[in-house]
């Protein structure tokens, strides 16, 4: 006998407003249907009526966990349309800030994932403490803890302060120690292992066919990372290695993100050593910015959740059309395939491991 349960828009698994209509046969899931759109704010339409640099504040609010990544995506598209290249130092500065943002986003994911599994906030408060230390470091650079609005054409708005390198290195040493403790806390916990191993398997062919990207794809054994295949800023010089697992279950997705955090630490250390001197400041905000010739640009970046793409049709002072491909929207569409045949309690383990942010899904 099939029962339908409504996992309503408001529920304590902290992903945001997502409504799932789950059809159960006893305890096994037969069908999952997500209903989205509760957080749709019309960012793409709002952007058509604003001038270029006024849009940066809106783009950041698409992903409130890692805002600088979207801001960078937008400004990079604008730079490509205008033909501006950021200076060498600006590339390194942007890379360092973006990798810190990636670590912060994965830390928040780790906390809410353990929350979904039933840990009742212990891991959540520990990882939020570490994320808070990173946000304090970014606050010293940009002036705000979230919604930085610090990307400008050709660079950043404020350069790194003089003692940034030693603060960053101290923070990175502390984070390395903490990651070892987190791994011991979770991987030696037999209940966590049996809750995530073998749960929600996504096979390699299905992953490619569904179009998922990011850690979900890399956990199924596909070697695709925008930082390697379509390299931008300074990733080729820093010897970046994408992290792959082959099993495709929730534990593999967790492991990929842990490895990615460690890889980000290595990248930041290398970048701090290799960063050249110079000027990283971009163009300041002017009331009438230089006119842009009409063109169409496509830019891709590796956001913490997957691959993000922006397609912009430019006009003289404001974008004519802006279209975004957000990773969480596509990852959510894979939920139906992954969750077929799983038991009901596994649904939250799978949902947590996909790393959804609803503002990313709904824009």
């Amino acid at each position: 006998m099939l029962t339908r349960i409504n996992v309503g828009p408001i529920h304590p698994s902290t992903h945001g407003v997502l409504r799932l209509v789950v059809t159960l046969d006893g305890d096994t899931i037969v069908d999952v249907e997500p209903h989205i759109g509760f957080l749709h704010r019309g960012v793409e339409k709002l952007a058509e009526n604003r001038m270029y640099m006024q849009n940066e504040g809106y783009m950041e609010k698409i992903d409130y966990v890692a805002p600088m990544a979207y801001s960078d995506l937008y400004v990079a598209a604008l730079e490509e349309a205008m033909g501006i290249h950021p200076s060498e130092r600006a590339k390194y500065v942007r890379l360092i800030l973006l990798e810190f943002q990636r670590i912060a986003s994965h830390l928040l994911w780790l906390g809410t994932f353990c929350n979904d599994l039933g840990l009742m906030f212990t891991m959540f408060t520990w990882t939020l403490k570490d994320r808070d230390l990173i946000l304090n470091l970014l606050q010293d650079v940009t002036g705000s803890r979230m919604f930085y609005v610090n990307m400008r054409l050709g660079g950043v708005s404020i350069d790194l302060p003089p003692n940034f390198e030693e603060h960053a290195n101290k923070l990175l040493d502390y984070l390395e120690k903490r990651f070892k403790e987190y791994e011991a806390f979770l991987e030696k916990n037999p209940v966590f292992i049996e809750r995530t191993k073998g749960v929600g398997v996504l096979k390699r062919e299905d992953a490619i066919a569904l179009g998922v990207t990011g850690p979900v794809l890399r956990a199924s054994g596909v070697n695709f990372d925008v930082r390697k295949d379509y390299a931008y800023y300074a990733y080729e010089k820093l010897h970046f290695i994408p992290q792959i697992q082959t099993k495709g279950d929730s534990f593999a997705r967790y492991k990929v993100r842990m490895q990615e955090m460690k890889e980000s630490i290595k990248l930041i250390r290398n970048a701090l050593k290799l960063m050249p001197e110079g000027d990283a400041l971009g163009m300041p905000i002017k009331l009438i910015s230089p006119p842009v010739k009409e063109s169409e640009v496509i830019v891709r970046r590796e956001l913490p959740r997957g691959e993000g793409m922006i397609f912009m049709v430019t006009d003289k002072q404001r974008p004519y059309r802006l279209s975004l491909r957000t990773p969480a929207f596509i990852n959510l569409s894979a939920l139906k395939q992954i969750a077929k045949g799983a038991s009901y309690a596994d649904l939250f383990s799978i949902l947590g491991s996909l790393d959804l942010v609803m503002a990313d899904v709904d824009r």
Partner: protein
Amino acid sequence: MLRPIIETIKALGKERFTTTFPEEKERQPDNYRGLHRLDIETCISCGACERICPNKTITMVDANTSKGRRKLPQIDIERCLFCGLCEEVCPTRALTLTKNYEYTEFDRRRFIRRPEELR
């Protein structure tokens, strides 16, 4: 199963990371983007802040100054994104963002701050 319990017991010995808010406050950097501050004598009423604001937060209203009756910016704090574009575009640096972030009110109408109140 023993290792995670040891981790929890180690955490019992660490010091607390949260602050009891009204009594202790966190430290802020110098370029923190908080509430606005308008220097009435320096403002030249150019209206650049009104035009650059993404969210139509700033409106120029009539106000009495020592140089007569001119238009000065009025800010609706509920709509403000605190992005800092108005501070960056102001030609005389009359509008700056301070470190103040505590602006709770009981009445929603108090959130529209007239230029005299932006001190």
